[in-house]
Every structure is written in structure tokens, then in C-alpha cells.
Subunit: 403 residues, 2 copies
């Protein structure tokens, strides 16, 4: 008998049939004697529909009211799941965030959970009831509805696991775990049984859609073990846990790639304090996300080169912002918008010498040229010509024995 | 400058375009210097969709959760209206029922509003803000979400008008007022400028869809004047007010009709106490609504005849319930399921002799036979062959000079 958080994502509750299926999974956990707090997302598509509605009203829809609008989606799913459980003969009720309450602070659409009242729900689940809580939302201290950002249902689940001190936090989703790469594109990608928070964060930020990054981060900070499971198969999922609890037999855990990247290089930039800020500040102000940034040491102490990547759709805008910015002095600017980023991620990397070399050699053997390189403690990313993307990922899978 | 409740029904907020239109109406009232509390229904179709969802889960969907589910609809509209007003440069925010709060008592899906906290909203509207309140819902003393029955947004509007002591309560809807009969079917039907609560109640119960009956009833009890207006035209609407404030120049205010009726007659029923109860109790237990009931005095003191009407779809079930009920003794049962009910309604009727006779003569002149008659203080209803329905309504319009 354990106290558990079970979280069901949008596709897992995306239709009446799927809600009935999720209710059966929950009932089975309940019949096994577990005390359950269930966290649900809005039905797949609902949040986007509501956002479309708000855009139809105004391009700058009031942020307070947007939270009132969007949180209705999870309210609907909570009622349907609780209703389905009652129909299966299990005591259950929905607990909206103001009913618990879940107190947040911070601005609308980007609030943080800071407190929950645990007594009532603890009493309820101890008496055999299943509490169903809408994810993604809370109330501010002043009593306004807030939301904690898209994908925030994961964050709700982790916060509940932490504050209620549950034995586990299980994320039911439409994939059966975290893979070494996207299994739809890379058939030889393998499911990972255990992955550290840090690795998961790197993979998430590199495009693995399994769990929302800020939820992984808060799980890491609270040392909450997460289990990612499929709602639709009975296969074992992936555990996201503390690195210390993983016995690394491999240096590399996964290979991620992002497409639609563009690489911009400024040659002969003055090498003095504040130059990088001058380049990137206007981009940030214009909502252009900069991913990799590489700056080499200047050879003569006067000039340096700066390379960075952005999403392809932002590249033209980035270039014109730099061109029109009088503050930035450079000799030449190059742009290549047909590049992709390939990253190998692995907490075992630190302890295994020669990984960097092995990666570069492997790609060189496949005749793939490296256009830029950036490394962190548990990740090595390279920029290559886009057309080699899948080849590179496959090659690295073989090199690091992930297949 | 006045304090007003403006209520917008489902079709008036049935699309983004209509919400933007409603927001303009509200802004105009605000620009005229009025303090406004706006009550909104769910977007047309939303509540039915949610009910379909609940039925997909369970035929007996949990009532507490049904209220959580359905009230999401008005929450969405409240946010969209408040968002639209902000976009028009008007200070506005949504006030969900737990935020006010609106306290109810009674069972789920059929609760009654018993209390509202008025201070915060009064402060807000005095400071120039527009409060947007979702209709149809409240919270119980124990903090559960409740709903006050379908069409309950009207009741919310009336309750707010009463408790906040507003100067008016304006119901914006998809028709431009109350008509002497359904203007779509009876082109000579005329809009009524002023109608009493009692007349409106009779017309509502006879099928006029303009306003929910229990809302009219509570307006009557609180003596709250109601204005029914069209969201889509600028024509004057109908005032629903105290009978004392109406100068009756006509005895009859409107002619209502219902179709899909069935008439069942039991001949030779024992004339002793409890017989009617024996007949109707099983019908009621099986959710069969009985409309008109007519029982004549028995001629010999032993036997009597009972006639009643039900909806056509219930008639077969009603007959089999009577046939299989051993307690009911009767000689013969007749059923005619091709009948309709025609009613004339008018508070002026009481003071005008000969209305009954005039109605019967008028229908006789048109060769329409009366199959049953039932009268109340401000209404006379007759059952006729269904095929004469429209003819009868037109004829009565002319007879009572409603055209």
C-alpha cells in the first residue's frame, strides 16, 4: 500500500473512451490498496481551442482572464474522471484549486506553486476516496485564478508528490517512456529504463516532449522519483531519478536532435566587455530565442568571432536586428539556415574519458563535417548540415551502443 | 446613471463575433455612466456538449461532478466577455461564484441562491469596473460547486438585481421581446410592450422560451422589473413588471399553444377519495409529466371520468402503467395522441366578463371542436385536434385583437 500521484496527460484523457480507460487504470491502482491523488490535464485540443477563442477576441487578451478561460479545460477533465470513477463504484471527487487550495505566486500564466493545504485531501484519501485535481492551475493569495504555464500539469503532479510526501509520482502519457532518440524517426532508438533528472532536462530542452522541463527541475530539487508510463500499453516505463541511484554502464544515454535551426556567425567582432550583451540583448527583446552561443578566444586580443544558433524562422529577423544596430561592430556576417543540432547526453560521460573524441571520430567516419561544437558536463552538441541529421543520429546510436 | 444587471443568454454569446458584439453593447451602457454587473450564460451548444460527455461516461453521472463539469461553460464566457471589455479599454474582470461568493442551498443541479457578498463587487463597479459573473452557478456552504438548474442564468440575474438592489435587470436574448404568440409560426403575432409576472409565467409554462419560469417567479416575489431585449436589434423590448403597473386595455395578452400532446381519458372511474392519486402517483414516479387534468363531477355519485394530457412521447408508457396498475378500476380508456393545447392568457381577463364564451364561440365559428377545457384565473386552455392548431391561434389573435 502506497500513497501515489497519478498524472494523466491531454492525449490520455483526449476522448470519452480514453477517460473511461484512464479511470480503469486508476481503479486498479485503488483496488491494489493505494491512496491516490490523480492530476489531470485538459482533454487534448481543448487548450488550443480556448487559446484560439481568446485570440479571436484580442491579440493581447487580458492575462488574468486568459487564466480563467484556460483553467476551465482541466476542470472539465477532473469532473469527467471523478464521475467515471464514481460510476465504477469508487468514491471519488474533484478538488478544484481554490477548494484545496493550491496557492501560487508570480504573474498570470507563469505562476509558481508555493503552498497547498493537505489536511482535507489526506483525510479523504485515507477514507478510501480518490482525489482528482486539475493540473496547471492555482489561486493567488489575492484569490485570483492563476496558471503555471503550458504543460504545467506535470509541475502540479510533482508539487503534489513533494508536498503530500507521496511514495511515487507516475506520469501517464501517450509514449511508453523516454527513448534514446525519437522512436518515430529513429527506429533503432531504445527505451531508457532509468534516466537522471539532469539527463532528462537536457533531453527535454533538446526536444524530447515526454515531460515539461520545469517539472523535471522541481522533481530534481525535491528529489522526487518520477515514473513515466504509457496509458495505452502495459510495458514498463522510464524512471527519472537521482543520478546517484543509477548504475551507469553506458557513457551516453540518448541522442537528441533539433531541426529548423539556423547558424549565424559574426566575424571580426571587437573583443571588449559588453559586446556579447550588445549582440544578444536586442534579440531577446524581440523574443528571438538564442540556443547555442560559441565565442572563441581572440588570437590578437582585439577581434573575436561569435557564432550562435536560433530557430530558422527567426533568422532573418535576427540578421536585420544586428545589421541595423549601430552599437555592434563586426567585419562580416554569415548565415547558414540549413543546419541541425545533434547532441549526445549522458551522466556517465563525466567518468568516461574520450567521449568527445569518439563522437567527433564517429561523425567524421560518416563524412559529416562539424560546423560548430558546444559542450556541457553531460552533453556534447554539434551543428551539422541538416541533410545528415538522421544519418548522424543513427551512427551515434551505433557508436555508443544505444541500439 | 443607474446600477444595472445585464444578462446575456447562450445565443447572444454563441460565437466570438457575438461576444464582441455583446461587449460593445455593454461598453455603450458603461459609457452612458451606468454601474454594471453582467451575467452570462454558456456559449450556445456548450452545455449540451458537456452533458453529452457526461452521458458518454455514465447514464447516472455523479451529480456533484456534473455541476463541476457544466459550470465550466459559463466560466469560459465570463473570461471571454471580461477579456473583450478590457480590449475595448474598459476595466472589467470576471467574478466566479466562489470569488464573490454566491452561496446556495439545496441539492446539486437544483440549488437556490440564498446569499451573496456584495461589498467587493459594489466597490469594484463604483470604481468604474464592470463585474462579469457566470450565471447558473454558486457554491454550497460546504464549498462545493452547485448549479441552479438549466436556464439558471436568468435566476442569477434576478437574484443579483434583488440582492444588489439594482435599478434594472435587462435580459438580452435572441428575440426582441415577448410576443402574443410564436412570431416564427404566427406572423400576425405582436410584440407585447408590458406583461405581468403572472402572465409571463403562464406563457413560459406554455412554451414561450423567452425567460426561465423560476427566474420570473423570483422576480415576481422580489418585485424586480425585468426588461427583455434583443442582442441583435435596437428595437424596444418587453417589460415584465407588476400587474398593478400595467394599464390593461385588452383582456387577453397572448395566445400560447403546445404541440406533441396526447389526451388520455378514463371512463367510469370509481368516485372515491384517493382515486386521482392512484392514477397519477405511478406516472409521477416514472417521470411522466401530466399537464392538464380534468375531472367532472360524477352524475350518480359513484362513477366519474378523468381526462389528462401528457407529452405524446410519454403516452404509451402512461397507458401501460395504468393498465398494469391493479389499484385503478375503470370501465374504459381512450387515448388521442394527435391533440394540441391552445391557451389564452391575460391578467385583464378577470375584470372582463365573457372572455370564456368569446373564446369558445370564436373556435366554434372556425368549426374547431373542443375536446377538453381547463381554466385558471388568468388563463383558459382548450384541447383541440392538432391539425387546427395554427388556425385556432390565428383566429384567437383576431378575436382578441392581438394582431
Amino acid at each position: 500500500m502506497a500513497k501515489k500521484v497519478l498524472k494523466f496527460g491531454g492525449t490520455s484523457v483526449g476522448s470519452i473512451k480514453r477517460i473511461l480507460h484512464a479511470a480503469k487504470i486508476i481503479k486498479k491502482e485503488h483496488d491494489n490498496g493505494n491512496k491516490l491523488i490523480v492530476v489531470v490535464s485538459a482533454m487534448a485540443g481543448t487548450t488550443n481551442n480556448l487559446i484560439e477563442h481568446s485570440k479571436g477576441i484580442s491579440k493581447k487578451f487580458n492575462k488574468r482572464e486568459l487564466d480563467v478561460l484556460l483553467t476551465s479545460g482541466e476542470q472539465v477533465t477532473s469532473a469527467l474522471i471523478a464521475g467515471a470513477l464514481n460510476d465504477l463504484g469508487v468514491k471519488s471527487k474533484s478538488w478544484l484549486n481554490w477548494q484545496i487550495p493550491i496557492i501560487t505566486e508570480g504573474e498570470h500564466s507563469n505562476a509558481r506553486i508555493i503552498h497547498m493545504n493537505i489536511k482535507n485531501i489526506n483525510d479523504y484519501i485515507s477514507s478510501g476516496g480518490i482525489a482528482v485535481v486539475p493540473g496547471f492551475q492555482g489561486v493567488s493569495k489575492s484569490g485570483d485564478i492563476t496558471s503555471i504555464g503550458r504543460g504545467g500539469s506535470d509541475a502540479t503532479a510533482v508539487a503534489i508528490a513533494k508536498i503530500f510526501q507521496t511514495d511515487s509520482c507516475e506520469i501517464y502519457t501517450d509514449v511508453d517512456g523516454v527513448y534514446s532518440s525519437d522512436p518515430n524517426k529513429i527506429p533503432l532508438a531504445k527505451k531508457i529504463d532509468k534516466i537522471s533528472y539532469e539527463e532528462m532536462l537536457e533531453l527535454s530542452s533538446l526536444g524530447a516532449k515526454v515531460m515539461q522541463s520545469s517539472a523535471v527541475q522541481s522533481a530534481m530539487m525535491g528529489d522526487i522519483p518520477i515514473q513515466v508510463k504509457s496509458t495505452f500499453t502495459e510495458r514498463e516505463g522510464t524512471e527519472i531519478i537521482n543520478q546517484d541511484n543509477i548504475d551507469y554502464t553506458k557513457a551516453v544515454t540518448g541522442v537528441a536532435y533539433s531541426k529548423d535551426d539556423a547558424k549565424i556567425t559574426l566575424l571580426g567582432v571587437e573583443d571588449k566587455p559588453g559586446v556579447a550583451a550588445d549582440v544578444f540583448e536586442p534579440l531577446s527583446r524581440n523574443q528571438i530565442n538564442v540556443d547555442m552561443v560559441i565565442q572563441n578566444i581572440s588570437t590578437d586580443g582585439k577581434k573575436t568571432d561569435i557564432t550562435f544558433t536560433t530557430k530558422r524562422q527567426d533568422s532573418k529577423n535576427a540578421i536585420s536586428l544586428i545589421e541595423t544596430n549601430k552599437k555592434i561592430k563586426y567585419e562580416k556576417m554569415y548565415m547558414n539556415d540549413k543546419v541541425s543540432k545533434i547532441s549526445i547526453v549522458g551522466a556517465g560521460m563525466v567518468a568516461t574519458p574520450g567521449i568527445t573524441f569518439k563522437m567527433f571520430r564517429s561523425l567524421a567516419d560518416a563524412n559529416i563535417n562539424l560546423l560548430a561544437i558546444s559542450t556541457s558536463e553531460i552533453k556534447i552538441s554539434v551543428i551539422i548540415d541538416e541533410k545528415f541529421t538522421i544519418d548522424a543520429v543513427k551512427k551515434l546510436h551505433k557508436t555508443f551502443k544505444l541500439d
